[in-house]
């Protein structure tokens, strides 16, 4: 069965007819040519397909496109403004927060979503008892970035990049 939907991707509106089984990830990649979200595992275990759906970071492979009708999707291509990299992207470049780069679009979307979660005062998924005001130290960055695998093992630099981006955005 097919459905007509409208996706708003990186500020642009796309009317689209999709098979109902199509994931958001496949719709972006195969139908709209938005290839920054990557397929790494097909079931939410790697984070390479992380995008911002109505401002929240989610795994594109675990969401049906038809359920996103009318939603706002931001991918790594859409993070920057006026030809400038988003501060998180710039920090990944400056601090070498990647090697092969396959996980990177997902990492930067995850980091952007995470910094917004922190700014909104969301408590950590960690902590016992959970601190009321999240303190984004390195341990907390690791905790909050734990949904994005990097097989090249650039984790140390990812922590540095996220810390640097947080300071810029402050």
């Amino acid at each position: 069965m097919e459905s007509d939907i409208i996706l708003r991707v990186n500020g642009r509106e796309w009317p689209l007819r999709v098979d109902t089984r199509t994931t958001l990830l496949d719709a972006l990649r195969e139908r709209l040519g938005v290839t920054s979200p990557k397929k790494g595992c097909d079931h939410g275990q790697c984070g390479a397909c992380t995008v911002l759906l109505d401002g929240r970071r989610i795994n594109g492979c675990l969401v049906l496109a038809v359920a996103c009708d009318g939603s706002e999707v931001v991918t790594a291509e859409g993070l920057g403004t006026d030809g400038e990299l988003h501060p998180v992207q710039q920090a990944f470049v400056d601090h070498d927060g990647f090697q092969c780069g396959y996980c990177t679009p997902g990492q930067v979307c995850s980091a952007v979503g995470m910094l917004e979660e922190v700014a909104a005062g969301w408590p950590s998924a960690a902590g016992r008892p959970v601190a009321d005001t999240p303190v984004l130290d390195d341990a907390e960055i690791r905790e909050r970035m734990s949904g994005n695998l990097c097989r090249c093992g650039a984790y140390a630099n990812i922590v540095t990049a996220v810390r640097a981006a947080k300071e810029v955005s402050r």
């Binding site: 939410g44 049906l64 998924a125 949904g147």
Partner: protein
């Protein structure tokens, strides 16, 4: 595959009644895995993301009523005092991305014995609210799990909410995984003490065909526990409790771990949970005094 996208709860119930084989989907973090791997090819999906009341939570006659679609993130964020064990389990679910979408309703719908939400629901004696065009009924979580991925839910019913009793004592949840994030439980355990009723609740995950209770262990600890003074139970009592929890499990050997290890880990988690409960209980007594 049909895709049903009701915009009201009534429409959703009607759709489920008309298509009892439709698989409800909300966050998608459980159902989509099955779909992506072709393990399941349901004739229809019933999208519940547009039903706002599934994301509601609030008091309900002495219970916390938690809409089936409340994401784990919200449970951690807003409900950790009202549902400590479930909030701890929510923290251990998969990844931040999945916690932003996944919900207790999905865990109950899939009814995988490894679902992190089940042990706390068993331990605190939660109710599962099931709705259909025929009406609403509430089933104790302890009566909900019938077999491997089989539950008390009837084909025309949707899971609308869970109801969590007001915490009346210490609660905890622990989960074993072989890495420190994004891991499916090798075994998990939840403990909840009810100081008013002087009862003990337990829940065991990933160590049997369904989530399980350790009923003998519950009775044993309820009778041995010093409800008035919270004196530390004897080492023999703690050990016995661990043994009873382990013996209630019905684990198998699989790629994630051996049956023997699962029993062992359950006994360790159970022993530790008792000591944490004693500490928390003492703090509670001191605060009330």
């Amino acid at each position: 595959m049909d895709f049903l996208s009701p915009s009201t709860w009534e429409e959703a119930l009607a759709a489920k009644s008309a298509h009892p084989d439709a698989v409800p989907i909300m966050g998608g973090t459980d159902v989509m895995v099955e779909l992506n791997f072709g393990r399941r090819r349901p004739p229809a999906l019933l999208d519940l993301t547009r039903i706002p009341q599934l994301r509601d939570h609030g008091p309900d006659d002495g219970y916390l009523r938690l809409g089936a679609g409340v994401p784990y993130t919200t449970i951690i964020e807003r409900l950790r005092d009202r549902s400590p064990a479930l909030a701890q389990a929510a923290r251990a679910v998969a990844s931040p991305q999945i916690r932003n979408r996944g919900s207790v309703g999905g865990n109950l719908g899939g009814a995988s014995p490894a679902g992190d939400a089940h042990p706390p629901l068993l331990a605190v004696d939660a109710l599962v609210e099931l709705a259909s065009v025929r009406g609403v009924r509430r089933v104790a979580a302890r009566e909900f799990y019938h077999g491997p991925r089989r539950t008390a839910r009837r084909d025309d019913e949707l899971i609308s909410a869970v109801l969590l009793p007001e915490p009346a004592g210490p609660q905890s949840f622990s989960k074993i995984g072989t890495r420190n994030a994004m891991v499916i439980a090798v075994a998990s355990f939840s403990l909840a003490l009810d100081a008013q009723a002087r009862t003990v609740g337990t829940g065991i995950g990933s160590a049997g065909p369904t989530p399980l209770r350790a009923i003998e262990a519950e009775k044993f600890l309820a009778s041995e526990f010093d409800w008035d003074g919270a004196a530390s139970p004897s080492p023999a009592t703690v050990t016995r409790f661990g043994e009873l929890v382990a013996s209630a499990a019905r684990p198998i050997d699989d790629v994630r771990g051996s049956a023997h290890y699962r029993r062992h880990a359950l006994s360790v988690m159970a022993r530790r949970a008792v000591s944490w409960a004693v500490t928390d209980y003492r703090k509670e007594i001191a605060r009330c005094a």
